[in-house]
Each structure stands twice: as C-alpha cells, then as structure tokens.
Point group: none
Chain length 253, copies 2
C-alpha cells in the first residue's frame, strides 16, 4: 500500500511537492489564486492529509504559497526564492575561492578530537582527523586573505600532498579520488577576532576583527568527511553574492 518510495526513492510528499512546483511554474495555479484545498489534494493524489501537508510545507518554505487558517491556501509566487534565482555557479562560488588565489600549506598534523573539537567536527570524541593548515593569498605574493584549517578523515589524508598544488577544491578531490558523494554542504559565517596563533602569518595584530567561515561537507549516511574553517581579517576579503530575477517570456496571470 505504501508506495512512498516509488521510482525515485523519494518520499511521496516530495514527489507531490515537485509536481505542484512544476504546475505553479507552468501557470496552472496562477499567482494570487487559491490552491486546491488539502482535502481535494488528498483525493487527487490518494494520500492522507499528513502527506499533503508535508508537501505543502515544502512549498511554503520556499515561498510559493501562503496558508491561512479558515481561508485557504493562496499562490504567492510562480518561482521560488521570491523570484530570484541563484546563478548555477553560485553554489560553487560559495564554496571555493577565485582562481587567482593560491593556498600554501604551512602545517599538517594528526589530531584526536576532544569533546569540544568533536562538536566542531561533528564526530565522536576520540576520533582522528588530519588537519592541514595554511594561508591563502592573492597571486603568489599578495597579502594573505585568510588562514584556513582543513580537517579530513584520516583515510583521505593522501589528498594532503596535492593541496596547494592544484586549484581544485579539497572536497572535489575527495569526491573524485575516493568516490565520496556530497549530500549536503553547510556554511556558517560569523564575526570573530584573529587568534594570536596565526596573526603574524596573516600580517595583522592579534584580536583584529575577522570573519570566520566554516564549511562542513556531508557525505553518505550523514557522515561529515571534511570541515574547513577560514579566518578572514578585516579589509582582506568580501563575500559577494548576486541574484537576478529569472527572466520568463510569459507574464503570470
């Protein structure tokens, strides 16, 4: 009876959501109009209300619909993201540095995670990791733009030798060399201060304002296989992201 993991191995509500997204994009449900009621969707898809609501929750999360108790569900937008579309390369832009920057390794070491480190690395206390640290510069001689610590599972340590000798991001090397498949990437950005440890390497005073970017790469079975932390001192680096409105030849009704 449960065909939730049908052809694509996706939950039923996700299939439903995908289909409804397509239909909204196709103009089947124009912006400003009402969606079918949950009851009607139950009948159409032959699923329970739980499944319908999980599907609609996805549409709501990406801003396509708004639900109003007592009133109904209204179509808010024809495309997700408030009409803005990230360019196809933006995920890569978010993850990697421009080609004209160079990374040079200054230290490689193996560590055993204590409790605090384990939390940071999303692993268990006692597990081992290889940590590759270094400086990223613009060109070969420019001012450093960040200090980076890359933490890898020991079985991927072989990659350490190639780092800095290629412009390929570490996660791509892991993907291609070991067949790891990235399921999710998480990026954190927050204000910080440059620690004494590598202040001189960055050619700034300790305590200088900085922006820290943490990236966590998750592979199969929610296994975090790479974590990197980059500290960018004030004035050396700006993160810039642009969105354009997607152009569509047909206006919504």
């Amino acid at each position: 009876m449960d065909e939730s993991r049908g052809l694509r191995g996706q939950p039923r509500y996700q299939e439903m959501a995908d289909l409804l997204i397509e239909e909204i994009a196709a103009g089947h449900y124009p912006v400003g109009s009402m969606m079918p009621t949950e009851h009607e969707l139950c009948e159409r898809f032959e699923v329970s209300r739980y499944t319908v609501r999980e599907a609609l929750r996805r549409l709501e999360e990406i801003g396509l619909i708004a639900r109003r108790q007592g009133s109904g569900t209204i179509v808010q937008a024809r495309d997700s993201e408030h009409g803005y579309v990230q360019s196809l390369s933006s995920l890569a832009q978010l993850l990697q540095y421009p080609a004209e920057t160079r990374f040079s390794v200054s230290e490689t070491r193996t560590l055993t995670a204590d409790r605090a480190t384990a939390r940071f690395l999303r692993c268990r206390a006692g597990e081992e990791r290889v940590c590759i640290s270094g400086i990223r510069r613009i060109g070969a001689t420019g001012k450093p733009i960040c200090w980076t610590d890359v933490y890898l599972r020991p079985e991927y340590a072989g990659i350490a030798r190639a780092i800095g000798k290629t412009r390929q991001p570490v996660y791509e090397m892991v993907e291609k060399t070991f067949g790891e498949r990235i399921e999710q990437v998480e990026v954190e950005l927050f204000a910080s201060a440059v620690p004494e440890k590598f202040a001189s390497a960055l050619e700034v005073e300790p305590g200088t304002p900085a922006m820290t970017i943490i990236r966590r790469y998750t592979g199969h079975a929610s296994r975090v296989f790479e974590v990197s932390a980059s500290v960018h001192p004030q004035g050396r680096f700006t993160y810039s992201i642009a969105f354009s409105r997607e152009w569509r030849p047909v206006s919504a009704g």
Copy 2:
C-alpha cells in the same frame, strides 16, 4: 482530551519546544550529547509522536539539534556560543531576517551623497537619500543582533513610517507600494569593527569585531533603489546556510 491550547493559547508542540530550548540552554542536555528518543519524549510529555516531532522540528530549525535516522538526536548548540543562528535553506533567504526578530527605528534623516557615499549607494554625488537607522533584536527584549542603516530614494520615504511596525522586508514594501520591480540583489559580507557611533546601542565596546552585511536592491534600468548595511557584533549572530544535493534538478534516471 485535547489540552493543546492550555494556559497560554499555544500549541502543545510549541510549549514543548520552548521547554526543551530552556533545558538545553540550562545545560540539562549538554552540547554533543544525545537527546531523549522521540519515544521517551512521548512518554514524558504524554503526547503523540506527531507532537514530539513538531516540537523537535522547531529545535532543528533554529540549529539546536540535529536528527539522524537510525542513530538519534544530538544536541548541536546551546544557543550561546555564536549567538543567534539563522539557518537558511537557500541563498535568497540572506535577504530577510526571521519572524522572531524585531526592528525598532532609532533615527531617520535625509542626506546628500558625497563621493564616497555615492559609491557605496551606487548613485551620483549630490543625490539625496533617506536613511532609516535602528536596532534589530530577538523578540522584544533580547540582546541586539545588529544595527542597520537602510538607504532609500526620497520618493520612497513614505515607507519609513511603516518600518518596524510590520515584519515585511523593506524591499517588499517598496515593491508592493510603488510597483518597483527588483531585477537584482547583491549581498556582501565582510569583517568590520563596531563604530563608536552605535556601539553603546549594541551594548558592546567600540572596535568590537563584527560582520557587516550590505544588501543592494536594483530595480528597473539598473537603478539601485535600496541599500542596507547591517553590523552584527561578534557572538550575536551566525549565518548558517545548508545546501542539499536535491537543490540541483535531478534527472529522472
């Protein structure tokens, strides 16, 4: 039977979530440790699994816990280390702040752009702008998470009165009130220091490390109609962006 709307008129899952958030903050469930299983929470609160899962969903949304199928639920943060965590599922959410934050205006003024300001605002020197400044907080009384300056073209100044009285983002108000159509949005993030001017309003020392976020909204004919600059002091705010593989259109294979 259903006491979901008990004393506070809140859903049962929200009461549960609030309590669990308090308990995590109090150290009852230390970061890195496992939460009780869903089954145990059902028993403790005498609710069905649906209610437990709705509560845990809230905790997950704000980054306090991570759930792993087959393994359990782990405590990820105590909500104190990097301050308020905004979890984003898409880049476009960089544009707005969560509903539980409030903006209060502390100053409104008109300025004429000098050359440096004009560069920042992407306008010509000598042009006028209205600048609305204020503080954003979590809830009504929490610590400030940022100081924001919003620069608007004078013809849109009427919007100033509505700011802080609605949760609608400013750019949306401009879009709906004046029919402006956003063609592009640009977001910049970089390290900075808290200026003396509003350090006390943010309850920090001048010079404290901060993360500045600049958003530029471009309308018709590449005309920048709104620019905002937000300064987030260290420890008050973290951006967390997660990408799933699903983001890419998966070929039906």
